[in-house]
């Protein structure tokens, strides 16, 4: 069995950041005329590996060879001249310049220092026509065209430098179904021309639609390289998440099975959706129920939560909060209706840096009471002390600035902020990410206790184990669609994983 020679070969790549091993002994190959998908969850090292290839980072150890000759890449320029071109996730073109200008920016054809516009436009047109099958007016400004076309133009720009390797970092994240199809036709064409294409995406369907080969990373380590046709979806997911199915150990579920079907419905989403972030879905949450949201990164978990809270505006369907009215158009309205939301971005969307623990705790309650109904200082101190004690927040001094607290304690302060408003539904988006094991267990316990007292939860976590343990029912998302609801008696990590993988 003879494999063709790899175009780009990376061996034993190590990359260490202060305190973090980003890549450990990773091998990676790209073959001409192949689409190679690089897969992994958050923090697996995908972007570090790409940045090593494109010269943004230099490697600490290991070797890189192009067409069998060792090369060293220390800057994006060196990477480009070695034939590696990249199209990043966010299209970084200038929308107010013309298509031709965007393609040739920085390397315009010149004569005596003057740009030769005519030649530039002709070359741009020819390039788009021949390589991308795209017939458009290149003298129009870029914002004339859809994001999909802009993406293709970004590819055209990357191709213009005699490229052998094309890296596409999440090119489809802002495209709709048709646009993706258009992009894939181009990718197939480029593939047939002998280009080696590295494709990064979170959409499993797309991986199987376009890729020939898949490399999986986890925690900065290489899990393996597989031919796409030999790797089943469920295997892919379990390798990414790091649980072998046969090794899964089921936790005993809580003793008595709670039946929610007869309970009153607390919050109900019907046909709720937003174009480009999550397709319309139905979801009922009963009183005292913990509904888990499971899915891979980018599957639409956070987007769902934000729709529930009014942080993003839904463009379809509606949300009913039992006994508190219909529709949620702003976070403030959501809070008034009894919905609370702990964002996954604790630093940017949660804590107020400059304020103390006490002020951070009372903020949401004070906001609902308005300016003039200020919570008296004595009462504030009582509240702060009470929650610091109840949630075991460290340090105990309520006048400490929140920015100096550890992640776990910040999370507890945010929980206190919302518990104080006594919500009917508390949405927790990755509440235990990046916090230590002790605090994690405390938060999980808190969720279970409060749900027994009648509070409903929407619980989002990347850790299947956690979702499975905490949830009474699990909604599974894949590729921005709700694909399945797993009832309590069927909840198992295997079941979730199968639903995530789909297919």
């Amino acid at each position: 069995m003879s494999e063709p020679q790899a175009l780009l070969q990376m061996r034993g790549i190590h990359k260490v950041f202060p305190g973090v091993k980003a890549l450990t002994n990773v091998d990676f190959r790209l073959f001409p005329g192949e689409v190679h998908a690089l897969m992994g969850e958050n923090g697996a090292g995908k972007s570090t590996l790409i940045k090593v290839m494109t010269g943004v980072y230099s490697i600490d150890e290991g070797s890189v060879a192009m067409e069998g000759h060792p090369i060293s890449i220390h800057s994006p320029l060196e990477s480009q001249s070695a034939g590696i071109s990249t199209v990043y996730q966010e299209v970084n073109l200038c929308t107010n310049l013309t298509v031709a200008e965007n393609i040739f920016i920085g390397r315009e054809p010149r004569k005596f220092g003057r740009i030769r516009w005519k030649e530039m436009n002709q070359r741009a047109e020819a390039l788009l026509k021949e390589r991308l099958n795209l017939h458009i007016d290149v003298t129009q400004p870029l914002h004339f065209y859809s994001v999909a076309i802009q993406q293709l133009i970004a590819i055209a720009r990357a191709l213009n430098i005699s490229a052998k390797v094309l890296i596409l970092d999440e090119p489809t994240s802002s495209l709709d179904r048709n646009e993706v199809g258009q992009l894939f036709r181009i990718i197939r064409k480029l593939k047939s021309e002998g280009l080696a294409i590295l494709f990064v995406t979170h959409f499993l369907d797309q991986v199987y639609e376009i890729s020939d080969r898949i490399t999986i990373l986890r925690n900065g380590e290489l899990i393996g390289e597989y031919m796409a046709k030999d790797l089943s979806r469920i295997d892919l997911v379990s390798k990414m998440i790091g649980k072998e199915l046969n090794l899964l150990e089921e936790l005993p579920k809580s003793a008595e099975s709670k039946k929610f079907a007869n309970q009153e419905v607390m919050v109900e989403a019907s046909g709720l959706g937003r174009k480009g972030s999550i397709e319309p879905f139905n979801l009922k949450i009963h009183k005292g129920e913990v509904v888990g949201l499971a899915g891979l990164l980018g599957s639409g978990r956070t987007e769902t939560a934000r729709l529930f809270f009014g942080a993003d505006k839904a463009d379809q369907g509606g949300l009913t909060v039992h006994g508190a009215g219909q529709g949620v158009h702003s976070p403030r309205e959501a809070i008034d209706r009894g919905i609370a939301f702990c964002s996954e971005n604790r630093k940017t969307e949660g804590i107020i840096d400059d304020l103390t623990i006490r002020e951070n705790i009372i903020l949401a309650l004070q906001a609902t009471r308005g300016w003039f109904n200020r919570i008296p200082r004595k009462k504030q101190d009582e509240i702060a002390d009470e929650y610091i004690k109840a949630l075991n927040i460290n340090p105990k001094n309520p006048e400490h600035l929140i920015k100096n607290l550890s992640g776990g304690n910040q999370q507890k302060v945010l929980l206190a902020r919302w518990l104080l408003t006594n919500p009917k539904l508390l949405i927790l988006d990755e509440p235990t990410r990046g916090i230590d094991v002790g605090a994690k267990a405390e938060i999980q316990k808190l969720v279970l206790n409060l749900s027994q007292q009648g509070m409903s939860f929407l619980f989002i976590s990347s850790e299947l184990e956690e979702v499975a343990r905490v949830s009474d029912r699990i909604a599974v998302l894949r590729d921005r669609r709700k694909v399945k609801e797993i009832q309590e008696e069927e909840i198992s990590q295997q079941e979730i994983m199968q639903a995530i993988a789909g297919g």
């Binding site: 809270f309 942080a311 976070p331 403030r332 809070i335 008034d336 939301f341 964002s343 940017t348 969307e349 949660g350 804590i351 107020i352 840096d353 400059d354 304020l355 002020e359 009372i362 903020l363 949401a364 004070q366 906001a367 609902t368 009471r369 308005g370 300016w371 003039f372 109904n373 200020r374 919570i375 902020r417």
Partner: protein, 347 residues
Amino acid sequence: MKNQLFKHHLFWPVTMLAALLLFNLIYSPDFFKIVLREGHLYGSLIDILNFGAPLILVAIGMTLVIATKGIDLSVGSIVAISGAVACMMISKGADQSSLSLVLTAIAAALGLSLVLGLWNGFLVTGAGIQPIIATLILMVAGRGIAQLVTSGQIITVSSDTYEYIGTGSLATLPFSIFVVAFMLIIASLLTRRTALGLFIESVGSNPKASLLSGVRSSVVILAVYIFCGLCAGIAGLLLSSNVSSADGNNAGLWYELDAILAVVIGGTSLNGGRFYLMGTVIGALIIQTLTTTIYMIGVPPEITLVVKAFVVLAVCLVQSEAFRQSLVRRWKTRHYPGEKEVVRRAS
């Protein structure tokens, strides 16, 4: 205890102010002398308070705006417009000293200032324009409006009633001091006795998180720009009343910059968040004292601005934690080549 004193947010501003005042003693031994004459108190310190009153007012409003991560460049123009409107209306009256006329004029001037503040606030929250650009519009246009009101002339009024605001005295002290004290109390009550202060600091520190916590940030931001406009309007009355005239071109010129400086010296960060009203007052007093000092020691007029700039630079450096620490570090790691031997032997 000693450490707490150093760490108090007013420590450095007060120290700088005291240093500046003491410096004046060298040039004028009776700098601190205050005499009672004809029922009025006179002295350099009183003058500083009196002449500094408009700046303190503007700076108080500016503090709240800056605390929301904003800035208001239009305050100087609002000062001019407010003075122009008041003087214009009074000068048209038959009896310029009539109380009702003066009160109407004041109400019109302050009403317009509120509207201008609302305009700024709307541009920032409603239209989503960056504060520095949004208020730049009124900074430029406002001078034009003031010119329009005064028809390009300097309008003078002869109204004892109106003059009282800027030159009169109450209980032996200049009336303007009471105006400032009143507004300072209002601002303190508004921000510390209601929840507005918490919301301002929260919006300024992390607008996204505040919104997600249910704070109506646009209302908060609107409120601070309106309040800032009002403060500038009152300052305009004080200034124009003090000289009994309105000058659309020069009244309140560069006040925005002095006010921003006062806020920063007072310890409020331009990044928004925590704000210190008393710090701002001290900061404004530092700037006013500096101006007085420069006149008193007879710095040639052509270099006064340079001298001012250097003192302000020094004040800011002393206030900067990073700068102080780098000085301390250098002091602690200084080298004494002669002592090296001794140290080595001792260890």
